[in-house]
């Protein structure tokens, strides 16, 4: 982890720093998005290299804690990606998760977390292209917001 960005107290300075790349944690479901990311890789489609992936069995496995913990531990943004509705390997895992994410997303905004810090998307195993485009988009959104300061735990 590059400490430099983190310890910068002066927000102005960070904004000027054109090279700053947000570090993003992505939770990808095993059956669709993880394979999609793989496909993007083998097809040599470029997407931001600052994304790190955690593979989960299903988006339904994602506890809101995963996302919040990522933020308190200093990740600048979070991406959650799974199978399209109806395509879940476990039939309805992503549909249950969708309701949970909808509420979590609203609550985060209600608490004043900037919209765009946490991103949700669907990408199937065949959509390497789409995966790359959406990750790019999520990265742009986080980049605009600058480093994560809100939920960051100050030790």
């Amino acid at each position: 982890m590059s400490k430099v960005v983190f310890e910068t107290e002066d927000e102005e300075e960070v904004k000027v720093d054109k090279d700053w790349k947000p570090r993003i944690l992505a939770f990808l479901c095993n059956w669709c998005s993880y394979a999609g990311a793989d496909l993007a890789g083998v097809s040599r489609i470029q997407y931001p290299a600052t994304v790190r992936v955690v593979r989960v069995p299903c988006t339904g496995r994602i506890n809101p804690f995963f996302i919040l913990k990522a933020l308190t531990d200093g990740w600048d943004g979070v991406v959650v990606s799974g199978c399209h509705p109806g395509d879940c390997h476990y039939i309805s895992g992503n549909l249950v998760a969708r309701r949970r994410f909808a509420l979590l997303n609203e609550l985060l905004e209600f608490f004043g977390i900037e919209p765009g810090r946490v991103n949700f998307m669907w990408a199937s195993a065949a959509e390497g292209e789409r995966f790359a485009v959406l990750i790019e988009k999520a990265t742009e959104r986080v980049k605009k917001l600058g480093p994560n300061k809100r939920f960051l735990k100050k030790w």
């Binding site: 509705p85 004043g112 998307m121 939920f151």
Partner: protein, 335 residues
């Protein structure tokens, strides 16, 4: 009719019904409110004998949600031979909602519960009054006409009732408990509840910075005593996430992030289940008013899934359910 007479009428009807229920052996115990030990409060009481029913009271300080005190969570209410005792419970609107929601979640058996329905007329915001009185000691509080009269040594102050009740009570549209089979007393019928949620919308029109500041300010004094959780009728988990230490998702300190994390995750757990009784805010020792979060929870499930907790015993709670057509406007899409 003034609030005072209304209260007396309600109190009388509670005592009459309770006496009848006990006399006819329809219930074994009555759970209700009795005088508190300090001003601005009442205590829960469990009555087994007919001659004690006059201990039951009703006033505008009955902030506790009695649904918390039912079997199986109260071992005293389970007889080793007979099984669960039959209980009569003094039920204002939000207690009724909690009972129904608990029955939906299969935590209680409504067959053993007689609902003594009463039309609630609002609960006094005790923390706000305490704050305004400040350091002085409150010795006596009463409600007369449309004012709350607070008396102490060398002072007497009066507050307008309609202004100094809980924020949630101001918005409340379910004053008497929703009707179920075991209802005695006054119960209402609610098909769906209309609410515009203007208070939530007003808050949401702020910028993220303003919201962040406001929420941080609101919660900054939280000591993580969990009184709000203990008072909550819907918080019945054997192992609450805050007591869990494997894995450690977040610490147990009063660091600002950890306070926020506690309230945010608790809000997640309450979505679609919170019955908006305001007990959490009434018991908070530092006077944090959680009603804004409560309102947000109600608004989310109402607007997204057209659900109001605890009014319909046959309706499946939204967070245990899903539909193919659920809104997903928050999902990232290609341009």
């Amino acid at each position: 009719m003034g609030i005072e007479e209304e209260n007396q009428k309600i109190e009388k009807s509670i005592r009459d019904i309770a006496r009848d229920l006990l006399k006819n052996k329809e219930v074994d115990v009555i759970i209700g409110y009795t005088e508190g030990t300090v001003p601005l409060s009442t205590s829960p009481i469990i009555i087994r004998d007919e001659k004690d029913v006059d201990k039951l009271v009703w006033n505008n300080f009955c902030y506790i949600n009695l649904a918390k005190y039912l079997a199986p969570r109260m071992p005293q209410l389970v007889d080793p031979e007979k099984g669960e005792l039959k209980v009569g419970i003094v039920t204002k609107g939000c207690v009724g909602r909690a009972l129904i929601q608990l029955a939906i979640e299969k935590q209680i058996n409504l067959d053993n519960v007689k609902i003594i329905g009463i039309p609630c007329n609002g609960i006094v915001n005790r923390r706000r009054i305490e704050k305004e009185i400040g350091e002085k000691e409150i010795l006596e509080v009463s409600v007369s006409e449309d004012n709350i009269i607070v008396k102490g040594k060398n002072f007497e102050e009066s507050f307008p009732f309609s202004e100094y009740i809980n924020e949630l009570c101001k918005q409340c549209k379910i004053k008497s408990p929703p009707k179920v089979d075991s209802c005695v007393g006054e119960c209402g019928e609610y098909e769906s509840v209309f609410d515009e949620f203007n208070d939530v919308k007003e808050f949401e029109s702020k910028t993220p910075d303003e919201k962040w500041e406001y929420i941080n300010d609101l919660l900054s004094t939280c000591t993580r005593c969990y009184a709000c959780r203990e008072a909550c009728p819907m918080c019945y988990c054997n192992l609450c996430f805050v007591d869990q230490n494997k894995p450690i998702w977040f610490g147990k300190t009063t660091d600002q992030t950890e306070i926020l994390m506690f309230h945010l995750i608790r809000a997640m757990h309450m979505a679609g289940r919170c019955v908006a009784c305001g007990a959490c805010s009434s018991v908070c020792p530092v006077g944090i008013d959680l009603n804004l979060i409560t309102r947000k929870l109600e608004q989310m499930v109402k607007e997204r899934y057209n659900f109001t907790s605890g009014i319909d015993i046959d309706k499946f709670p939204p967070m245990m359910d899903f539909e193919m057509e659920d809104e997903q406007e928050f999902m990232l899409e290609e341009d």
